[in-house]
């Protein structure tokens, strides 16, 4: 019996579990790229966007963004490994994933991903090191000066000593050099971040077989929406973390809260307000750019009416109308824009708007990835996607609700640990930048 079930399960073709076919679809057509491929551009977008926000301070010297910039940089580092995760979860042969790095086939848009991604990771890591070097040195020196160290402190001392990479000089001159190098790295980082994500757009935009994906605008649309989602997530997390800090300062829960130099609740509130207001202005600029390009693409398709338009129109205007026009454009773009643009903007209103924006960008990825597979190559049939919720095997777990949630939750777990080593909120005298 068990053998029979196993045999039957083996006969379920990849994609069959969540695809409902309607009218005439080719026998081999299924929704092969499911929720994890929705998560992939979403997560890389968040990485790139968070980095762009941090660069606004480092490169363009927008002083008022200093605190949120450092936070975004650390957060971007926490998001980095997660950009790889959905790809690995979606591969049919995950153990061969490394082949992409070992035997890259450069005519493929995916092949360069490993290299672009690693370059980008190196840039973010270098920049972080430059920002936190002074802190590493100070911490290591302070720990060395302690006489009876606990096991944990000894471990921390070793770790921070290693993290200094032997560069112990924290004279003003050396720190100034760090600052300059940091600016250069951030400057290189912006085009690389845009490339990383624009290129995720290219992966889709270059698939000529897919009538919905194939447009040269795709990389640009992806970059703009990436920055939108990244900035929105940073604002949201920044507000949440500041709220937690406020709570801890009030109740004096954290160690730092008992320190006489600790920021008061009013200081925390004041800093938060200003940083959120300025960042949300940038959020709106990028939202306008993203929306303009998306609508341009739609209008162009509707106006030129090439062969594929009949089926695309049915998918966009009828079958996916709620997902595209109500959830993505309405709830995810127009509503948050109105919330932010109406006079008397507050932090609370902006925070609500960022949640909606994040949802909107997610829906955009969903509508591109799943929507692109919603119609048959024969243009005579449709495929419906149903997200597997309760997993009944590994595949429906990986490419189901729980798989996606795992991916979405990981950056926060990583941030918790990275924040222990590179605290996103430093007191002025400890920080270099």
């Amino acid at each position: 019996m068990v053998g029979e079930i196993a045999q039957h399960a083996a006969m379920i073709v990849h994609g069959e579990a969540w695809t409902v076919k309607e009218l005439f679809t080719l026998p081999n057509e299924y929704i092969y790229w499911s929720i994890q491929i929705v998560m992939y551009p979403y997560m890389t977008g968040l990485v790139a966007g968070a980095f762009v926000l941090s660069s606004l301070y480092h490169v363009f010297g927008i002083e008022k963004l200093k605190e949120i910039a450092r936070f975004s940089l650390v957060f971007s580092f926490a998001l980095l490994p997660v950009a790889m995760m959905p790809l690995m979860l979606h591969l049919q042969q995950p153990f061969r994933g490394i082949h992409v790095m070992m035997t890259p086939h450069f005519t493929s848009a995916i092949a360069a991903f490993g290299f672009v991604f690693s370059t980008y990771a190196c840039i973010v890591a270098t920049e972080l090191w430059l920002v936190y070097r002074k802190y590493f040195v100070q911490t290591a020196v302070a720990l060395k000066a302690q006489n009876n160290r606990s096991a944990i402190d000894s471990f921390r001392m070793l770790m921070f000593t290693a993290l200094t990479l032997g560069a112990w000089d924290i004279s003003d001159e050396a720190v100034k050099k760090d600052h300059k190098a940091c600016k250069t790295m951030a400057g290189i980082g912006i085009p690389v971040a845009c490339f990383l994500h624009g290129y995720a757009g290219f992966i889709f935009g270059s698939v000529k077989a897919n009538a919905l994906w194939m447009t040269p605008l795709m990389p640009v649309i992806f970059i703009c929406s990436a920055v939108v989602s990244g900035v929105a997530l940073c604002i949201l997390c920044y507000v949440i973390v500041q709220e937690i800090r406020k709570f801890m300062a009030k109740r004096k829960i954290a160690r730092w809260a008992n320190d006489p130099t600790a920021p008061t609740i009013e200081e925390l509130e004041g800093a938060k307000h200003e940083e959120v207001m300025i960042s949300s202005n940038y959020l709106m600029y990028f939202m306008i750019a993203a929306l303009t390009l998306e609508i341009l693409d739609l209008i162009f398709r509707g106006y030129t009416q090439v062969k594929s338009w009949d089926i695309l129109r049915e998918v966009i205007m009828e079958r996916d109308f709620t997902k595209i026009f109500i959830m993505q454009y309405g709830l995810g773009n127009i509503l948050p824009f109105l919330i932010m643009v109406l006079p008397g903007r507050t932090v609370r209103r902006t925070t609500i708007a960022t949640v909606l924006v994040l949802f909107g960008v997610f829906m955009m990825r969903y509508n591109v990835v799943i929507g692109g597979q919603a119609f048959s190559l024969s243009f005579s049939g449709f495929m419906d996607y149903t997200l597997p919720i309760i997993p009944h095997d590994l595949e429906t777990f990986k490419e189901g609700l729980f798989g996606a949630m795992t991916v979405a939750a990981t950056p926060f777990v990583l941030f918790f640990f990275i924040n222990k080593v590179m605290p996103a909120f430093l007191k002025e005298e400890e920080s270099t930048h």
Partner: protein, 257 residues
Amino acid sequence: MERREFLQKSILVIVGASVPLSALTMIDPKKVFAENPDIQWAFLVDTNKCVGCGFCVKACKTENDVPFEANVSRTWVERYVYTKDDKRYVDSPKAAQDGFTESRIDLGRGEYQEIDKANVGKAFFVPKLCNHCSSPACTQVCPVGATYKTDDGVVLVDRTWCIGCGYCIMACPYGARFFHPIAKVADKCTFCYHRLSKGLDSACVNACPFKARRMGNIHDKNDPITQLIMNERVGVLKDEFGTKPQAFYIGLAQEVR
């Protein structure tokens, strides 16, 4: 050593080394492993002769170990029915592995459409398979080079190297690729390369009772199939993608995509 001397010696070493190096050639596995590079395989489908028996699909699945229970196939047959009131119906139930034994049209989602026989304007069958394109989109997008075109014109997949990303499946405009339910890698028609290399016909060609499916060497002008392709009015599927398909169709209707 002086700079002048150093430069002179360096040039000498470079020139000296480049002579034996130039004797080496880059080995192209496509060329080495192709059974016969003088051959260029092409497929010819005569849609007028196809009756939709599905023997080809059955033979293919048996020959190439694609399970009958799995709803994917390396080759399939489509049925087109045009009614007199200007409606068009297409279906290919279970890739037509059991032939078209029922007259009702499969609309998916378990729904069927009965068509009044008196209302049928025209109807025909179209067998489909991988087009083994001259400039295939699928091999271009493979991130690890696991799928490639042999020098004799057949597109193959290396099952030991495919990572299962599905990019080739997305890139194929013909829906010829799928994930093999057991091997868990991308799979597709190979023109029965293992048979061709032994001088045999591919399984589907062998199974077709009406010679609707045939194969030939398009580089050989005297090959009967090449003659047919040269002399008949043949078409290819979706030429707008620029993939240069090598499966030619006699009697191809415009609506067949």
